[in-house]
Each structure stands twice: as C-alpha cells, then as structure tokens.
C-alpha cells in the first residue's frame, strides 16, 4: 500500500529509507519494546509522528535519533511493517549531511572515528579508534582500565591490518561522489 506523504520532510525520509511514516497508526509498540527509550527525549513513536507532521528541526535536534541502538526490535514488531530502525538511520544521515549539531555528540564522533579507521586500514583498528574518539570527546580517562586489561589479554592489537587500503579508500570516495550527485 502506498500513501502519499503529506510533508516535505516525510517525503525526504521516504526517499532516503524507502519507508512511509504515514502508515503508522501510533500504536506505540515500537516505544514499548525499545531498550533505550528511557534515555530518549522523544519515543520512537513520537519521532515517527513528528516526521509525518514535517517537524524536521525537532527530529534532527533530538537525542532519540542518536541513542537508538539499532537493535531492530521496533522494526521487527511494527504491525504496519514500518522499518523504524531504517527511519532512524535516515534521520541521522540527513542530520549529518545538513551538518546539524548532534544532541548526543559522542555517538556520531564514534561512528566517524570508526569509519575513518576502516577507510585508512580496510579493517577496524580498535586502538586507533579509541584514541581518535578520545581526542574528539575529550574524555581521556574513560575506560582506561578496560583498555589496559584488553591489551594484557592480547585482545587489542598494537598495529593495524592494512588490507586493500587503496580499494577501500576508493569505495569511500565513490560513495561520497555518488551521494553528492543525489543517489
């Protein structure tokens, strides 16, 4: 079933995610099963409704879109088959592209640091990721003892892998180019 979006923002989300928020009848099943809803400023149900009403600023400036852990419980249980986790992804992607200052800064900082490592080395590099993240969030002492313990157990590699570094970098460049062309 296709229902035409009634707001520009809902239309944009539909284009980004393939998901029509207009199918939602506000049963709140997504909010009920969400493991992190207690930390959110708006529940997933409210975010869906706000998108429907075209309240772009509220959505892009919410904590909820960043706190979503992508556990997909909401998506799994939605009686209207709306992929809510995908809608959350679309909101985050739009927020990044429009350079909206995130309300929960350390989460996008983590994503950025993680992807930087992958772009440079082809694979994730936990030690480098942690250092980059600390530089970005300025939380230098957080989880220090955990890191030391991981090192001792041989679970934190001291050197990155260098796998298909040119090819991987090309993937990232081509993706940004295509996205700029509006794909």
């Amino acid at each position: 079933m296709v229902i035409a979006p009634d707001s520009k923002f809902a239309e944009r989300v539909l284009k980004e995610s393939g998901q029509s928020v207009n199918l939602c009848y506000q049963c709140r099943k997504c909010a009920s099963g969400c493991p992190v809803v207690y930390e959110m400023d708006y529940t997933p149900t409210q975010i869906i409704h706000a998108i429907r009403l075209g309240m772009k600023d509220l959505v892009l400036n919410s904590k909820a879109i960043w706190l979503c852990a992508s556990c997909e419980t909401c998506t799994t249980r939605c009686p209207q088959d709306v992929d809510i986790a995908k809608v959350m992804d679309a909101a985050r992607q739009i927020a990044i592209r429009e350079k909206v200052k995130p309300q929960v800064g350390d989460i996008p900082a983590f994503n950025k640091s993680f992807l930087q490592m992958v772009r440079i080395f082809g694979r994730s590099f936990d030690l480098g990721l942690t250092m980059l993240l600390k530089l970005r969030t300025r939380e230098f002492t957080k989880d220090m003892d955990l890191g030391v313990k991981l090192l001792r157990k041989g679970k934190l590699k001291l050197f990155p892998s260098f796998t298909r570094i040119i090819e991987t970098n090309k993937i990232f460049s081509k993706v940004s180019k295509m996205e700029k062309e509006g794909k």
């Binding site: 493991p35 852990a69 992607q93 989460i107 992958v118 082809g122 957080k142 298909r164 993937i171 996205e179």
Partner: protein, 288 residues
C-alpha cells in the same frame, strides 16, 4: 563440506576466542573453512548510521571476493557482520538499480549470488548434530547455561530468515545435543546495548544487569553467546555492572563454539578460555 569464511574485525581482536574455537571444532564436524582473501570491514553499525550506500558497498566488496573465489556460501560467525552481509545481499536482491551502483563502486560486475550463513544454521542441521553427538568426549551435563542470541542474529526477520525471531532455539538445540543442561529464560533476544558501550556505557550497564539478573534467577552458571558484541559487553563490563548495581553474580560468558570444543575434549587453552575477563576456571573445575 567447504565453506568460504568471513571472520570480521572482532574475531581478529576482542573476540579471538570465537575465531580459535570455531576453527578448532569445524574439522570434527566435517567442515572446512576457507578464509576470504583480504576481506575488509563490513562497516558495522557506524556505516549504516552514516550512509546507506556505504553500508551496502562495504559488505558487497567482500562478498564479491567470495564470488571470485568460486564459492557460493560464506560462513559469518559475528552476528553484527552476519546481519550487515545478509542485509546487503537482501537489499541488492530487491533493487537492480542499487546493484548497478554498487557494482560501479566496488569495480566488479557483482552478481550477488553468495549465500550468507551463520555457524548456528550449519551446526543445527541433523547430520552435523549427529556428528557432534558422536564426538562427545566430556560430560557437560552439570553445566547449566542460558543461550543468549541478542539482536542481530534474528532481526529484522524479513531479512535474516533465521530461527524464531522472538524465541530462537538453534543454540539451545545444539548445546543440549552435546550434553549441556540448557535452561529456559526471558532475555534470549534482548539488546545488550551493542556499540553504545564505548560512548554511553551506563546504558549498557543497565541492559546487561537485567540480563545477568534473569540468568541468575533461572539458576544459570554461565551464558552462551553467538555474537561478538554481546560477548564483549557481558564479559568485559560484568565487573562494572556488579559494582554499579551492587550485585554479586559471577557468570562466565562462553561462545557456543567454546562449549562445543569442551564437549569434544579440547583443552581450555586451545579454546582460549583464559582470555575471558570473567574466568570460567572455578566453574569448570567444579563440573568437569
């Protein structure tokens, strides 16, 4: 049976026990794993939260390598990689336009033919279960575990098509076949907070405390997992959760492959049991 093998970044580091134990038990079960040549990162949660196109292209690159190597099935033990690879395959199957774009991005005429499998799927087939049963050398019946599947093995069901998505049983079935006492509980598919661990660790502590409380309440000695992120959160943050919530549970977290190895008579060292934060030594000396 030969399968292509995509270990993923975690199995190279924080979840090395999973890699070692899986590789140790596969020959016993008549399974040969051939690691994908120079596989790259699947992009994980960070990619799909940042760019849809990137989140499909990164897994497609490694799947294309499997295609080039002429194998048609790839085994992916990390639940997060498993979900990303399977999602990429699903989305490419449903959008010829996306397939065209991704082929340009990865510079390969990708056919999207490779089937993505989790070890739990392979091990729960009747002939592998039979082989597993025939190779039991140690009695693990005194070990009481709960099986924790987490989010990404089964969700979203439309894509994953894996087990029962609210109440999966594949791991329970495998472990009970090899003689472990498997208990029923309520937190099989609840979220542990996954990658929020490094940024919002207080959320993870709350979620894992719920999991530990229920595991303890049903009488479990340990928790069995099939996801690298679940293992890291439950194992490395258990001490912290105990302090914050003033609890005294002590639950070693095993990859299900380690328990299979134990049943097959493999040594603790071979299965890398010493690299866990929550030591299983005391528990194992009591029951084996």
């Amino acid at each position: 049976m030969i399968y292509s093998y995509y270990p993923g970044c975690s199995l190279d580091g924080t979840a090395k026990e999973y890699n070692l134990s899986l590789k140790a038990i596969c020959p016993v079960l008549g399974i040969e794993l051939k690691e994908v040549k120079d596989w790259i990162c699947c992009g994980a949660t960070s990619a799909h939260q940042t760019s849809h196109l990137l989140s499909v292209s990164l897994p497609a690159k490694s799947l294309a390598e499997v295609e080039k190597e002429g194998l048609d099935e790839v085994v992916v033990p990390c639940a997060a990689c498993f979900q990303r690879l399977k999602t990429a395959r699903y989305e490419l199957e449903n959008s010829p336009e996306l397939l065209k774009d991704v082929s340009v991005i990865i510079d390969y005429p990708f056919e999207n033919k490779v089937k993505v499998l989790h070890p739990l799927e392979i091990f729960s087939s009747s002939n592998v279960l039979e082989l597993a049963k025939r190779n039991i050398k140690k009695d693990l019946s005194k070990l009481k575990v709960v099986c924790y599947y987490g989010c990404l093995l089964t969700r979203p069901p439309k894509v994953m098509q894996f087990d029962n998505y609210e109440y999966p049983l594949s791991m329970d079935e495998i472990l009970s076949r090899i003689g472990v006492t498997v208990l029923d509980w309520s937190y099989k598919t609840d979220c542990c907070g996954a990658s929020l661990a490094l940024t919002k660790s207080e959320i993870v502590l709350r979620l894992i405390n719920n999991i530990f409380e229920n595991a303890e309440a049903v009488g479990a000695d340990a928790i069995a997992v099939g996801c690298t992120l679940c293992h890291t959160n439950l194992d490395t943050r258990q001490e912290e959760a105990k302090k914050v919530y003033n609890k005294n549970y002590n639950l070693p977290i095993f990859f299900f492959t380690q328990l299979m190895g134990l049943a097959f008579g493999m040594s603790a060292k071979e299965l890398s049991l010493h690299t866990h934060f929550v030591s299983p030594d005391k528990l194992l000396s009591k029951i084996i």
